[in-house]
Structure formats: structure tokens, C-alpha cells
């Protein structure tokens, strides 16, 4: 507020020195409400009503000042200024420049994205082995079967490992029902007893797999092979 101070002080002093209007005295608000209005904590409508009353009641003006002396002053956030139509139509220069920089940055980002997409679509994909599949271990046993096997001579054969290797053989139905688990096989072949195949119907496919235990203790598992029972 930049009014002429002496004039204003005269007015403020006179405002405090005015005489009480007797008619208004019976309508004085409760002191607690007066205190809360001065603190700004009372609801707005009530607050304004009390200010209206204070403007014509000397006693409540004094009480209001007393509340202020006790520290009852409004605190908290002040309502923010809303942008006017003029300020929207005529923004300051710094805001125009900032807006221009924002637009340039957005355009640059969009161009980078477009280049990245084009490069992804246009450049040939490098041919390479899929990384999600393990490379076959050369020591893994490989099936040596060339034909179907009979129930009487169901001999499974596989490539041998180094000298001293032992093998574990697993045989299941196509439904993965285990038929046989033979451990510590010393030769790269195994004759499955016909009793194991008693419930298997001729022409049914069976799955088998060999795990070789190398002399150094390492274990290498073969692929799963399919063999048909004649």
C-alpha cells in the first residue's frame, strides 16, 4: 500500500477514536468468532460478516486490534493470481523466448525418435545364433540309432564319452511316464529288459536321454531322442 502515510495515519487514528454506535452493540459477535475471524480461520462468509460489523462497531474494532496484538493474524497460502486475458494475449518476452526454446527441444526430440525408428526398420538385422539357446556341448552323447527297435532287443546306443565315463539312461513314454532310470552304465549302450516294455504298445514312440558323467566329474546331458517300438 503506497498511500500518503500522514494522511492515512490520521484516518486510522480517527477510525479508532470514533464513538460507539449504540444500536450496533447488541449484534456483536462472540469474542472467539472475532478472534478466529482476525486469524482468518473462520469460514469466509462468517469472516466477511464480522468484518462488516467491525467497520461500524468501535468496540469490536478494539477487540479486533486486541486479537491482532495477541498474534491472531491470518497465515497460509494467498490465492494465486489468475492469468488475465491481456496477459494471455500479450505474454512477456521472456515467456515467449522460453516457449520458443521448448518448441525447438520438442522438435529435436521428435526428429531423434524418427531417425531411430527409420534406422531400426531400414538396416538389416545382423544374422547370428539366437542367444536364448545353449550351444551344443561336443561332449554330449549323441544317439547312434538308425531304426526302430524290437521289444526283444531294445538296445539303445549313443556316442561314447572319454575313457572312464559313466552314463545314466532315462526312458519314458511320450506322456513322460518314466519307464526306466539306469545309473552307472559303463558302456555307451544299454539293452532295455523286455519286462520294462511290457505295457508299451507296439508302434508307440518312447523318449530317451543319456547323461554322461565325465572322469573329471562334469555331467553333460544329451538331447532327448525318440525311438519307436516295433
Amino acid at each position: 500500500m503506497s498511500e500518503s502515510r500522514p494522511d492515512f495515519e490520521t484516518l486510522a487514528r480517527a477510525f479508532a477514536a470514533r464513538e460507539q454506535s449504540r444500536g450496533i452493540m447488541n449484534e456483536c459477535p462472540d469474542p472467539e468468532q472475532l478472534y478466529e475471524a482476525a486469524s482468518g480461520t473462520l469460514e469466509r462468509e462468517q469472516r466477511l460478516r464480522i468484518v462488516d460489523h467491525v467497520s461500524q462497531c468501535v468496540e469490536c474494532s478494539q477487540a479486533w486490534r486486541m486479537a491482532m496484538e495477541l498474534g491472531a493474524r491470518p497465515s497460509g497460502p494467498v490465492e494465486q493470481l489468475r492469468p488475465t486475458l491481456f496477459s494471455r494475449l500479450h505474454p512477456p518476452r521472456w515467456r515467449v523466448r522460453a516457449k520458443a526454446v521448448e518448441i525447438r527441444l520438442a522438435l529435436a526430440a521428435a526428429a531423434m525418435c524418427a531417425i531411430a525408428v527409420a534406422a531400426y526398420l531400414a538396416l538389416p538385422v545382423q544374422q547370428q545364433r539366437p542367444q536364448y539357446r545353449d550351444v551344443a556341448n561336443p561332449l554330449a552323447p549323441v544317439s547312434l540309432l538308425a531304426e526302430n527297435l524290437t521289444r526283444e532287443r531294445f538296445m539303445l546306443r549313443w556316442s561314447p564319452g572319454p575313457q572312464g565315463s559313466t552314463y545314466t539312461l532315462r526312458l519314458t513314454t511320450a506322456d513322460l511316464l518314466p519307464l526306466l532310470v539306469q545309473q552307472d552304465v559303463t558302456k555307451p549302450e544299454f539293452l532295455v529288459p523286455s519286462a520294462v516294455l511290457g505295457r508299451v504298445v507296439s508302434g508307440e514312440q518312447l523318449l530317451w536321454q543319456v547323461e554322461v558323467r565325465l572322469p573329471n566329474g562334469e555331467r553333460v546331458t544329451s538331447k532327448t531322442y525318440v525311438v519307436t517300438l516295433d
Binding site: D7, R18, S55
Partner: protein, 184 residues
């Protein structure tokens, strides 16, 4: 001064109610708050007002009010007690213009002698009522000593508008006073 109960008369629960706070510290805070707003005419009765504050605090506590011993609540209670007493005395004066027990000094304090400012103040009050409500409120708060941001908070508007209302209200008030032959 109306009769107020002493601490001992209010029942055995009083000290228990205030046990969380040192009694002397509470008394000191109340006394400080009362004396800060107590007009000269009530200075002799300040201790009675402090006791009245005690009673009010106790009643509020019995009613289950929260934060009855917070500094802000103590100030509010002290303030209400003093304002109520001032009003009570004014009503008594209004009802009985020449009471036998009111001394001259007190009466003088409560009814100040007319001063050069009084006429201007009375005229201001008339002129204020002619202003638009928003301008009148802003100007009233400014005359009471509130800053621009405080006026904005009380009126619930932004500071720029509060400042505008105050300036325009002040200009209009001066015009009205000039029309009445008063020029501050």
C-alpha cells in the same frame, strides 16, 4: 467483576486435569496473555480475569475440547475473557448511566473525552457504509492495521485485488469526506 470459582472450589479433578502442564507455567502464560490485552480500566481485576480463564480452560477440558493447553488456545481464552468483561461493563454502563460504584477514572477510560479525531472518525464510519462492500471490508482491515497480504487472506482473494480494493476504497472515502467538508 462477577464471582468466579477458585481453583479449589472447582473440584478434585482440577489438578489432575492440568497435571500435564506445570500449574505455575500455565498461570504465567495466562497472566501474560490477559495483561497483554487488558485495558487500563481492568488492570486491577487482571488476577480475577486470570482465574476466570482457568475456569474456562477447565470447562473446555471437561467438554473434551482438544488442545486446551496449547499456546494458541490459551491466548484465545484470555482474549475472550477480557472482551467479555469489557462488554459486560459497557452494558452495565449503558443500562445505568450513573452507577454509584463506578469511579471517575474508570468511566473516563471507557468513555474517552471527545477529541479532534472523533468527529472525523464518526464521519468516516458514515462514509464507510456508503462504500461498496468489498472496498469497505478491505479498507476497514487496512485501517485496523492489516497488511495487504493479510487483507487478501481474510477476504479470500488475491493480493492484487485486495490492494486495488483498498486503494479505491480509500480514494472514495476521501471524496466522501471532502464532500462533507473534511479533508484529512
Amino acid at each position: 467483576m462477577q464471582e468466579v470459582g477458585t481453583l479449589d472450589e472447582t473440584g478434585p479433578g482440577l489438578h489432575a486435569a492440568f497435571e500435564a502442564r506445570n500449574h505455575h507455567a500455565l498461570h504465567r502464560d495466562l497472566e501474560r496473555a490477559v495483561r497483554r490485552v487488558c485495558p487500563k480500566s481492568l488492570a486491577e481485576d487482571a488476577e480475577d480475569l486470570v482465574q476466570e480463564c482457568f475456569i474456562r480452560l477447565l470447562r473446555a477440558r471437561k467438554l473434551g475440547s482438544e488442545n486446551t493447553l496449547s499456546a494458541a488456545y490459551i491466548k484465545k481464552v484470555a482474549y475472550s475473557t477480557v472482551v467479555d468483561e469489557i462488554r459486560r461493563r459497557r452494558r452495565r454502563l449503558a443500562a445505568d448511566p450513573a452507577p454509584s460504584h463506578v469511579d471517575v477514572e474508570t468511566a473516563a477510560d471507557e468513555s474517552p473525552a471527545p477529541s479532534p479525531d472523533t468527529a472525523l472518525g464518526n464521519a468516516m464510519e458514515i462514509c464507510l457504509q456508503r462504500l461498496q462492500p468489498d472496498r469497505r471490508r478491505a479498507l476497514t482491515l487496512h485501517l485496523l492495521g492489516h497488511s495487504g497480504s493479510e487483507v487478501a487472506r481474510i477476504l479470500g482473494c488475491n493480493p492484487k485485488r485486495a490492494e486495488n480494493l483498498t486503494h479505491r476504497g480509500l480514494a472514495q472515502l476521501r471524496e466522501y469526506l471532502n464532500d462533507m467538508g473534511l479533508s484529512p
